[in-house]
């Protein structure tokens, strides 16, 4: 299976003198002064990409859990699968931002270093999964605040106004709205389940499935 890659590598590398394939081209000479992001901030941003992907995988595990026949909560499964895709989109947004600022010209292969596999893969109830989700978002919010802090004030004394504004206005905005929504769901579901445990969760699941709550 690796033959194609190997064959291409060979074809490209022997191209030097002969008229075989020319894969490599001259590196363009582009002024680099416009690239003004500073190192501690870049590192934080790269780390945040991993955080978002980790959250995506955690939500995917939640979606998988509630899809099981022994759990059978299609509403929650749908909600968590959607959340997983949203987290992946957040990672892509951060990547796009760095690319726009002239970053990620190297070490892209090392962008994802940590184990992104979810730690928890089963939950005792929908309420406990929702609470985990709320805590997960709270952690992500804290991490974004840390990125903002470093990008605003760091040893190089470079305040990255534009990035800080983007993270504050765009990312934090979504975090706070998202957290409020999950907290509300925890509240409603927990109240529903006080007297009617199984029925409460069953009904709430169908409401989520219909997009009613």
């Amino acid at each position: 299976m690796k033959y194609i890659v190997v064959a291409v590598l060979l074809a490209c590398s022997v191209a030097l003198g002969s008229a075989v394939l020319q894969c490599e081209h001259k590196k363009p000479d582009i002024p680099s002064d416009w690239i003004d992001m500073v190192d501690p901030c870049i590192r934080k941003m790269r780390g945040q990409i991993e955080e978002e992907l980790k959250a995506a995988m955690q939500y995917m595990a939640m979606g998988a859990h509630f899809s099981k026949d022994t759990i059978n909560r299609p509403g929650f499964a749908k909600m968590f699968f959607e959340a997983a895709s949203e987290e992946r989109e957040h990672a892509i947004k951060l990547i796009r931002y760095l690319l726009m600022r002239g970053e990620l010209t190297s070490n892209v292969s090392e962008l994802i270093k940590r184990n992104l596999m979810p730690k928890t893969t089963s939950w005792t109830s929908a309420v406990s999964a929702l609470k985990d989700a709320l805590n997960l978002e709270t952690t992500v919010t804290k991490k974004i605040r840390e990125v903002i802090k470093v990008c605003e004030d760091n040893p190089t004394n470079y305040n990255d106004y534009h990035l800080v504004d983007y993270l504050t206005g765009d990312f934090l905005d979504e975090q706070y709205h998202g957290q409020r929504e999950i907290a509300g769901r925890v509240s409603t579901l927990e109240k529903l389940m006080e007297k009617h445990g199984a029925l409460g969760e069953f009904l709430f699941d169908k409401k989520i499935l219909d997009g009613a709550v």
């Binding site: 299976m1 194609i4 890659v5 894969c23 363009p28 582009i30």
Partner: protein, 190 residues
């Protein structure tokens, strides 16, 4: 390409609760490497590479891979199974550090390798599922592979194989730089 890296999603074991006998641990078609295409797409989107066509190609593969992963998890649960987020499925060879920053032709060749690998794994599962004399005969899995998985895989492989043919001949010309620009432009319109 790296296979054992933890950020890939992996195989699962089927629970055959509704059938008699010991449930065989059958490996499911492994999910595509979930994030590798994303990194390949990222590489082509930096200002130095600046190849929007290649960026789009790999981003599309990444999006499809992600959706397929979710669909696969749902499929597994329709069979009473559950997703195993722990173990590894895709090949064991290739211990090198992963590299997603490749030249154009190489990156397409790599994608073609990854897709072929998936097809081979699916064929292996299919042969297990159709081995009627063993304890494990599962017409539904073979149906699913034949009708859902294989046609998509066939088309992706064919498309990428075609690209390698085109690029190989284009890069063999007098001005491969211009060829790449035009090929990239062509990819933006696909």
């Amino acid at each position: 390409m790296s296979v054992d890296r933890p950020h890939q999603l992996h195989v699962q074991v089927w629970r055959h609760r509704h059938r008699r006998g010991v449930p065989p641990a059958v490996r499911q078609p492994p999910l595509h490497p979930l994030l590798e295409y994303l990194l390949m797409s990222t590489h082509y989107a930096n200002y130095e590479k600046n190849r929007p066509g290649f960026e789009k190609l790999f981003r599309g593969l990444s999006d499809d891979t992600w959706k397929d992963a979710i669909e696969l998890i749902k499929y597994i649960t329709t069979r009473g199974g559950e997703m195993n987020f722990g173990t590894s499925a895709l090949g064991e060879e290739d211990a090198d550090a992963p590299n997603f920053e490749l030249y154009e032709l190489q990156s397409i060749a790599k994608a073609l390798d990854m897709e072929k690998k998936l097809a081979v794994e699916a064929i292996r599962i299919h042969s297990e599922a159709t081995r009627k004399n063993s304890k494990f005969h599962d017409p539904e899995i073979s149906y699913h592979l034949e009708h859902e998985f294989m046609p998509k895989q066939r088309d992706i492989i064919r498309k990428l194989a075609g690209y390698t043919t085109d690029l190989s001949s284009l890069l063999d010309g007098p001005d491969s730089s211009l060829s790449l620009f035009l090929f990239d432009d062509y990819l933006t319109k696909q």
